[in-house]
């Protein structure tokens, strides 16, 4: 085993200090070290988008980064979306109401991809929405209800 390295990573505004092997993927760090299993692991080679998180505010694949690379950086995961246990984030609420999910496996990655997208553009066209979603695979919905949910979220967040 290679030498462990100390990391201090801020996840959802809370700092975590751990000793990790350099080869530990950020996705595994979030799930196995921190118990934040909302970040899902699908393909583990950057295709499916289920593990998408925010790295310093921008969406990224957590399966294509090592935890050591996140040392000193700020991560946001799906657990950090809602303000408290009683209120969903407007994007989550819109997904619920517009039936933007069925099995839900892809949903955390999709939500995290949409956060920076809607921060930059609260009046997106359908084409822009579909482009923003192009890096996330969903095998249940056929995407139509997801697009509807994004439109609904954007409308409410304007």
């Amino acid at each position: 085993m290679t030498r462990l390295r100390s990391v201090a990573i801020t996840v959802n505004n809370q700092e975590y200090k751990r000793e990790v092997e350099p080869r530990m993927l950020l996705s595994d760090f979030l799930r196995h070290e921190l118990g934040l299993t909302g970040t899902h692991v699908g393909c583990e080679h950057g295709v499916c988008g289920a593990c998408s998180i925010l790295f310093d505010g921008e969406s990224a694949r957590s399966c294509l980064m090592f935890a050591v690379q996140a040392d000193g950086h700020a991560i946001r995961t799906v657990e950090g979306l809602s303000a408290d246990e009683d209120h969903l984030h407007p994007i989550q609420q819109a997904f619920w109401e517009a039936h933007g999910l069925q099995c839900g496996f892809c949903t955390p990655g999709i939500l995290m991809s949409l956060i920076p997208f809607l921060e930059k553009n609260l009046d997106p066209t359908e084409e822009e929405i579909r482009h923003a979603l192009s890096g996330n695979l969903c095998r249940c919905t056929g995407y139509q209800h997801i697009v509807d949910a994004v439109k609904l979220a954007a409308e409410r967040m304007r």
Partner: protein
């Protein structure tokens, strides 16, 4: 699907990174954006003994213009290229092509230097470097040298970079006047690797005749392929649909060597090449004429 163990270094200067690379040589890989290297490590196709992460080396990400040359730092993220006003004005071919690279989440991490050094024949950036007459600045721990794009890409996933060298900067001439550009590709899904892609640049003279033309194909052989004979068909001529058709036929039949894959036979790739050549040349000529006025 977990990477094999490796020794990890995270230098904070380029000199330190070069010393580490010189010490570990072939055993080491540079970690830039990691969007091709890390999946390959997850599959254990790549098992480097040493990983040198240059993400904390300062001053390697910039887009500047100096004396009609665009200088792009090797660690500039693809997303920075996508949102650069300077590129949209001075290198619109590059600017317009970046959104074809994978997805936003990948472009947030992926770097121009990483993509060029990886030299995937199906990647967009190597083909664009050929189309744009790029020069690449590389360095080891004792000297620096410049490599022209056609000499840099020497084969599938193979470049002229030595084991102790790091790519530092890409230099591109700003787009010439009266020049039009176009980039198109066909992929099974948005963001997937393209089955075929074409970059075209056309310069039209004051007399309405073609003064310069460049055609580069991606996923058409061992690396990015420039179709010089097809481009020469246009030189010195007034551009007509028939001439574009001739260039497209010549380029797609004689100047590419597509291998085919699970999604497309070589014949279908040639068909795509012909259709895309026609479309890109037509758009590039129209844009060149618009810019003349």
């Amino acid at each position: 699907m977990k990477p094999a163990p490796f020794e990890y270094f995270c230098p904070d200067s380029i000199d330190q990174a070069l010393d580490l690379l010189s010490e570990h040589g072939d055993e080491a890989r540079i970690l830039a954006g990691g969007q091709s290297l890390v999946p390959a490590m997850n599959f254990r196709i790549q098992q480097p003994a040493v990983l040198i992460d240059i993400n904390r080396v300062p001053d390697l990400d910039y887009i500047l213009e100096e004396e009609n040359v665009l200088r792009i730092g090797a660690m500039t993220r693809e997303r920075q290229l996508e949102f650069s006003d300077l590129l949209s004005q001075q290198a619109p071919l590059l600017h317009e092509s970046v959104p074809f690279i994978a997805h936003p989440q990948i472009r947030n991490r992926g770097t121009i230097g990483g993509s060029l050094v990886n030299a995937d024949p199906a990647a967009e950036l190597p083909a664009l470097m050929l189309a744009l007459n790029a020069r690449l600045k590389v360095r080891n721990n004792s000297q620096e040298r410049w490599i022209e794009a056609p000499e840099f890409f020497i084969g599938m996933f193979t470049t002229a970079l030595e084991a102790d060298e790091i790519l530092l900067e890409i230099a591109l001439p700003v787009m010439a006047e009266r020049t039009g550009w176009s980039f198109m590709e066909v992929a099974p899904r948005s963001g997937d690797y393209a089955l075929m892609g074409v970059a075209a640049l056309v310069t039209m003279g004051e007399d309405g005749k073609c003064e310069g033309a460049k055609l580069v194909y991606l996923n058409a052989g061992d690396g990015p392929l420039e179709a010089k004979e097809a481009a020469n068909i246009l030189l010195g001529e007034k551009i007509s649909d028939d001439l574009i058709q001739s260039a497209a036929e010549h380029g797609s039949e004689h100047e590419i060597t597509p291998f085919g894959n699970v999604h497309a036979s070589p014949e279908f790739q040639r068909h795509l090449a012909q259709v895309l050549t026609k479309k890109t040349l037509t758009q590039a000529v129209r844009r060149a004429e618009e810019r003349k006025q």
